[in-house]
Each structure stands twice: as structure tokens, then as C-alpha cells.
């Protein structure tokens, strides 16, 4: 009887200790998270129902006016479309090229580490610097690219092609990151699969499509989901490469760029908040669709 009581007491005191230390350990993180992230979500939603007064006037409640205005705003739809176009180039190309490079590097090859380091290099360079370099390469009069091809193309000021030029920088920047993730995933594929394929006389392409891609599909799925989310938040490149007087700006500016312009350049926090809510909705929608579709092509063992 006594022993059981003691045991019970011991358990409760152990639980109390865990409760005490558990909360102490998570307290700084939770406090910061609530102040910096959780409350701001509601503030942004709240803010999106207000018109931010010009010249120091306070907030005026306008209900869903910002949203009404946004849904009729051709610039917002164009920006959403631009973002989508950017993602449609950046995501597939950065994934496919990275996958091919990862497969090629996933063998005993001379200088493997050096190649990996080279492909990963853009990840540690300042995006502002990368954008300036590419802007210089794209320069229509004196740029390297037009010199190499012997052309006079306005890479970043022709509205028809500027969005492709921007997306190419995006692909170049993120390629090595995707490749390293794929390389890590490839290491987990057992060698026997490839040996079996070799015995069966499967070609390199067949091995890639029927063994590597299905077995790597969880990694591919992860990279796809995070890349789509990343591509929809593109800002640095547009901000740095496109001047405000660039004739192609309207056809390249992304949703986040537009958000920045409204919220911080023009000081219209209410409308900026509405735009960012649209961004949230679009990202959520695409992520949910991908989660549903994954059942069709992702193989988990």
C-alpha cells in the first residue's frame, strides 16, 4: 500500500517536473512565435479591412473594399499571372536539370566534390549581387550574352521575354540546392536495384525513369512543394533587376513585389495586406492540390 502510494507520488512529481521544465524550455520560443507570427497573422487579416489613411490619417474601416478593389485590379491579376509564369519556368527546369546533374554526379567521378561545390555556389552569394551581375550580362548594348550570341536582344526590357530572363536567373540560383537534396536522396537507393537493372540489360534512360525517379519520388515531391512555395514568393530578383521605369516591369512584377510596393513604397498597408492574403490563398490552394495529387505518383516504401 505504502509503496504504491510512494510510486504514485513519484510519478506525479515526475510529471510536475516535466510540466515545469517543459514550459520553461519552450517559453521563449512560444512567446516570440506568438508575438512575431501568430498575432501578426490576425493583424494582417484585420488590416486588410482598413484603408490606411494618406498623410498620417488613421485607419478607416472599409470592410471588404480592399478585396473588391483587388479582384477588379488588372495589375494584381497580371502580377499573379507573372508569378505563375515565373514558377512554371523556375520550378520544372531547376528540378529536371538538378535531377540529371545529381544522377550524373552520383557515381565515382573525378572531382565530384568540386562540381558539387560549384553548383551550390549561388546559394551563398547575396541575391542583390547575383541580380546585378546578371543584369550586366543581360545588358542589351554591352552585355556578355548579346556578344556571345551576336544579337541585340533587350533581355530584361522587352516585355515579351523579360519574364523568361528573370526566371533563368532563378533557375541558375536554385539549381545547386535542388541537386544537393537529390544527391542526398539518391544515396538512400539501394545498389541492388541498379545491379538488377543492369543484369536485365536496361538502358540508362530506362533505369532513370523506372528505378531512380520512382524511388526518389518522395524527395522530388518535397523539392517540388518547397520550390513552388519559394517561386511564388519571388521578390529579390524582380526588385533588383527591374527598374521602376523598365517597360517590362508590368509583365514581370510578382505578387510579393506588388505587395512590397503597396505596403512599403506607397504606404497603403491595408491594400498590401489584402494582396498578401491573396498570396496565402494561392499558395495554400496549390499546396493542397499537390498533396492530393502526390498519391498518384509518389512512392513511399
Amino acid at each position: 500500500m505504502n509503496i504504491e502510494k510512494k510510486k504514485a507520488k513519484k510519478i506525479t512529481s515526475w510529471q510536475q517536473k516535466q510540466l515545469f521544465w517543459g514550459w520553461i524550455f519552450i517559453f521563449p520560443t512560444m512567446l516570440g512565435l506568438i508575438v512575431l507570427n501568430i498575432i501578426p497573422i490576425f493583424t494582417t487579416i484585420y488590416q486588410s479591412f482598413f484603408k490606411t489613411g494618406d498623410f498620417g490619417k488613421g485607419n478607416i474601416f472599409i470592410g471588404v473594399e480592399n478585396y473588391k478593389q483587388m479582384f477588379q485590379d488588372a495589375q494584381v491579376w497580371q502580377s499573379l499571372f507573372n508569378t505563375l509564369k515565373y514558377a512554371v519556368i523556375e520550378v520544372p527546369f531547376s528540378i529536371v536539370i538538378a535531377l540529371i546533374l545529381a544522377v550524373l554526379l552520383n557515381r565515382k567521378i573525378k572531382g565530384r566534390g568540386v562540381y558539387r561545390a560549384i553548383f551550390f555556389l549561388p546559394m551563398v552569394a547575396a541575391p542583390a549581387a547575383i541580380a546585378m551581375i546578371w543584369r550586366w550580362i543581360y545588358n542589351s548594348q554591352f552585355g556578355l550574352l548579346n556578344h556571345i550570341f551576336g544579337t541585340h536582344i533587350k533581355w530584361i526590357s522587352d516585355p515579351k521575354i523579360a519574364w523568361i530572363s528573370i526566371a533563368v536567373i532563378g533557375v541558375w540560383s536554385i539549381l545547386g540546392y535542388n541537386m544537393v537534396l537529390f544527391l542526398a536522396g539518391l544515396q538512400d537507393i539501394p545498389r541492388d536495384y541498379y545491379e538488377a537493372a543492369e543484369i536485365d540489360g536496361a538502358s540508362g534512360i530506362a533505369t532513370l525513369l523506372h528505378i531512380t525517379v520512382p524511388l526518389l519520388s518522395p524527395t522530388i515531391f518535397f523539392v517540388l512543394v518547397t520550390r513552388v512555395i519559394g517561386a511564388f514568393q519571388v521578390f529579390d530578383l524582380i526588385y533588383m533587376v527591374m527598374d521602376t521605369n523598365n517597360p517590362a516591369l508590368g509583365k514581370t512584377q510578382s505578387l510579393v513585389f506588388l505587395f512590397y510596393q503597396y505596403a512599403f513604397t506607397e504606404g497603403n498597408k491595408g491594400y498590401g495586406s489584402a494582396i498578401v492574403m491573396l498570396l496565402l490563398a494561392v499558395i495554400m490552394l496549390i499546396t493542397v492540390v499537390q498533396m492530393v495529387l502526390q498519391k498518384k505518383w509518389v512512392h513511399y516504401n
Partner: protein, 275 residues
Amino acid sequence: MKNKKLTPILIHVVILAFSIIMLLPFLWMILTAFKTVSETTSVNPFVILPKSWKTGSFSTVWNNMNFFSLYKNTLLLIFWRVVCACSTATFAGYAFARLNFRGKNIMFSLILFQMMIPSQIFIIPQYLMISKMHMTNTMFALVFPGLVTAFGTFLMRQAYMGLPKELEEAARLDGCNILQTFLYIMAPLARASLVALGIFTAVFAYKDLMWPLIVTTSSSKMPLSAALATMQGQYSSNYPQLMAASLIACLPMIALYLVFQKQFIEGIATSGGKL
């Protein structure tokens, strides 16, 4: 059988070609930085290598942009972000992984919830807080969004979950309390993940552009990223100077990367991949 010999060469050619594409922009930055303006605007002949390697652009931008203070601001920003992220995330990650207490699950769901939300949602309210505190143009403002990290907490939780339970039980039998068990036994074992989180935090603090643009307006308070963005407008067509400034801004991080290559790649990519 012919294929067997050809394939490795072909593979090398493809990889080499891509390596050149990856390196060419960096090479072009370096070459341009050492040219004169007239060399960069000469079309016929197109100048690839500078006739003489001029360092004038470096000294001009170094003096005009006050790189000492830019380096200092960037270094402090990185330092505080890493200290805050690592110290808060390692405690919280351990609690979420190994302690059982009331309210844990709901708190952890907040962590996961934060990770799913695009960070732009938080920016206006975060800016309004900084502005209400009259803290714009301060180091505190730059560090502010990175005081805690949901992603880092998640990463550290994964790290602690991978450690064997027996160690904690042994420590407890030896009379360690929870804090001692954590500090002396578990935290040292999760060091590799903490280093990865530190590198991840450092690189992204260095690369962050939008937040520094929002909270710093005075050039003496800016980190490198915001200063580069601002200088682009001022030197719009002086490409040797723009490239010299880019090179000065990128060099320390690239040098660190070349030395700690393995840790960088693991820190950035592997932590990203663990989500």
C-alpha cells in the same frame, strides 16, 4: 560496348558545361570589376580581359560605401540571429521531442502552423511593431523577425528524437534533473544539428533583402544586402564599380564557404531537406 567508353566522357562534358555556366557570371563579375568604364562600354572590339587590372573601382566603392560599417552591421546581424535561433530552438526542440507535459501538442501545432505560412504575412505587423517602438534603423530591428525560429525548433526536435532514450534514463538514475540531463548529456549530442541550424540561419540572415530594406533607411545602419540594392540606383551604369561592390560584398561569405564547404552544404541543404 563502345558506349561503355563513351558514356563517362559524355558525362564529364555535360557536367563541365554546366560548371562553366555556373561559374561564368562570377568570373564576369571579377573581370568587369578590374576594367575601366570605357572598356566595359566598348563594343568593337568587345573587351573580355582588362588591358591592365585596375583596382580603382574597388577603392572608390570601398570609400564611398563605408564597407567597414556594412561588414560590421552584417556580422552583428548574423551573430544575433544565430545566437537567438540556436539558443531558443535547442531548448524548445528538446522539450518537444523528449518531455511530456500538458499543452505540448497544441504548442507544437503552432510551430507547424507557422512553418506553413508565407513569411510576407508577418512583415507589415512586424514593421508596425518596430515603428511603434521607434526602433527603425537599429540592430534590434534587423534581428527582430529572427528572435525565435519555428523551423529551427522543428529541426532540433527531429535531432533530439533521433537520440537513444537510454542515455536520459541512465542520467536520471545517476541523479541528474531535467535541466542537467539536457545540458550535460543531450545538448552536446545534438551539436551537429545545432551547427547546421547556425549555418542555415547565418546564410539566410546574410541573404535577406526585403526586411533590411524596410527597417533601415540610413546607410550607416544597413547590412550589405540592403546597401547593395541602394547603391545600384546611384551608380546605375558604372559597371566596374557595381561589380567591385558586389565582389566585396560576396567575398567573405564565399571564402567561408570554400573553407567549410561540407558544413555549409549540409547545413543549408540537409536542414532544408529535413522538413
